[in-house]
């Protein structure tokens, strides 16, 4: 799992590459927390290269969402692969997160 950071409009974009599972979730969490501690108020998780996400990974998304809500910030998800989007839909997590088809439409709102 790799994480790349970039900026788009006011958003800090975190592009996730590879798998977020039990083995990589804690590494992913510490990277996300690092970004949040750096003062990011608008966070966009770009999932175009996210190949797999398990419950440990979903938990990190929830932690990030909770922290953003507490600090008055905003967390958005974009570019989910159909299989990953289906995981969110099936489990009902798509109603908890703001999910956008692409980074531009997410950062525009």
């Amino acid at each position: 799992m790799e994480v790349k950071l970039s900026n788009l409009n006011d958003y800090t974009v975190v592009s996730i590459h590879g798998r977020v599972d039990t083995l990589t979730a804690s590494d992913f969490e510490s990277k996300i927390l690092e970004v949040l501690e750096g003062g990011a108020k608008k966070l966009l998780l770009d999932c175009s290269d996210l190949a797999y996400i398990s419950s440990s990974g979903l938990r990190v998304f929830l932690v990030a969402q909770k922290k953003m809500m507490a600090s008055g910030g905003s967390l958005k998800l974009c570019c989910l692969q159909p299989e990953i989007k289906e995981i969110f839909d099936i489990s009902g997590f798509s109603t908890i997160f703001s999910i956008f088809p692409d980074a531009e439409s997410a950062a525009a709102q």
Binding site: S54, S55, L62, I90, S91, G92
Partner: protein
């Protein structure tokens, strides 16, 4: 001062256990019920012990060493037994907390009674031993019974065997404590050192088991449901398995099995999602039609019957923990 030393430690210990419940498995209503049951059990024990002393003409030493531990531990354990049987307790963590709460309710009543009986002239040492030693021992014994019973249920052992094993350990500790074979102060110190360490180890282990369970089952269930919804179920190993047992059942039964698997997966995923939401501090989402779906699942389970359920075991093996998880959706 006697109130502080005899009542406060057990409440503090219970609060610490409650805070260690990172998955928020414990319901506040059941926690209060457990405390209340502890108070009732103390009252009932008092009458039972007095009655037994009279009819058996018991000596005080015999009563506190051998008889009181039995009446008290059995009465305290009754609620835990019932809660586990009706699947309102699913994991070691909630079992231990409810168990400790019952013991805490019991000890609070007992210690208040002793304060009223003995008055404030009694040495502080007595209240320290009662508050840190006896009270924590009461909570710890019922918690141990709960842990052993739920661990047995999770391993699909007989409920009676697990109950007897749990009760035997609780009685051994309670009776051993009441023998005061070593200095009461040392005994209390031992309880203070051993029990918290034991609970921290058990809670850590249970948390990591719970995380693994969520990790493996959630992903597998999502994947299987995804295949079902895409009409690709036949291509999966589960689908192949269902096709292989087709000849043993009527077509209607196979349809019921298919919907049973599908509905079970949907509800199980939602229940696990709710556990994850609670762990992260999110409110659980109310969902329309959940009750109807749970009823439908029960109906399908009945229609399939025990034999059908046995046949589906390689695909879905519903155990006590799964049924508890489903209960969380109600």
């Amino acid at each position: 001062m006697e109130y502080l030393f005899s009542l406060f430690p057990v409440i503090l210990f219970l609060a610490c256990l409650f805070l260690l419940d990172s998955f928020k498995l414990v319901s506040q209503k059941l926690l209060l019920l457990s405390l209340l049951w502890g108070i009732i059990a103390a009252g009932l024990s008092y009458f039972a012990n007095s009655w037994l002393t009279n009819i058996l003409n018991l000596h005080y030493t015999t009563l506190i060493r051998y008889i009181a531990p039995v009446t008290e531990e059995v009465l305290k354990a009754l609620l835990i037994f019932a809660l586990i049987r009706i699947r309102l307790i699913g994991f070691v963590i909630d079992a231990a907390i409810y168990g400790f709460a019952i013991g805490a309710g019991f000890a609070l009543t007992e210690n208040t009674f002793y304060i009223m009986q003995l008055g404030s002239d009694t040495e502080l040492f007595v209240w320290i031993v009662r508050g840190f030693g006896t009270a924590i021992m009461h909570g710890g014994c019922t918690a141990l019974f709960s842990i052993i019973l739920i661990a047995g249920m999770q391993r699909e052992k007989s409920v009676w065997t697990s109950s007897l094993a749990g009760m035997a350990l609780a009685l051994f500790i309670h009776s051993g404590f009441n023998h005061f074979a070593i200095n009461p102060f040392l005994q209390t110190l031992l309880i203070i050192l051993v029990l918290p360490t034991f609970f921290v180890i058990i809670f850590n282990q249970s948390n990591s088991m719970l995380q693994n369970w969520l990790e493996i089952e959630f992903s597998n269930e999502v994947e299987m449901l995804r295949m079902i919804r895409q009409g690709q179920f036949k291509a999966t190993r589960a689908g192949e398995y269902l096709a292989s047992i087709k000849k043993h059942y009527s077509p209607e039964m196979i349809v019921d099995m298919y919907w049973y698997i599908s509905l079970y997966l949907e509800l199980s995923i939602k229940a696990k999602r709710n556990i994850m939401l609670k762990e992260s501090g999110f409110p659980v989402m109310p969902e329309v039609g959940i009750k109807e779906k749970l009823i439908e699942l029960q109906q399908l389970r009945k229609q399939i019957g025990k034999v059908g359920e046995m046949s589906l075991r390689p695909l879905i093996r519903i155990n006590h923990r799964d049924l508890w998880t489903m209960n969380q959706l109600k």
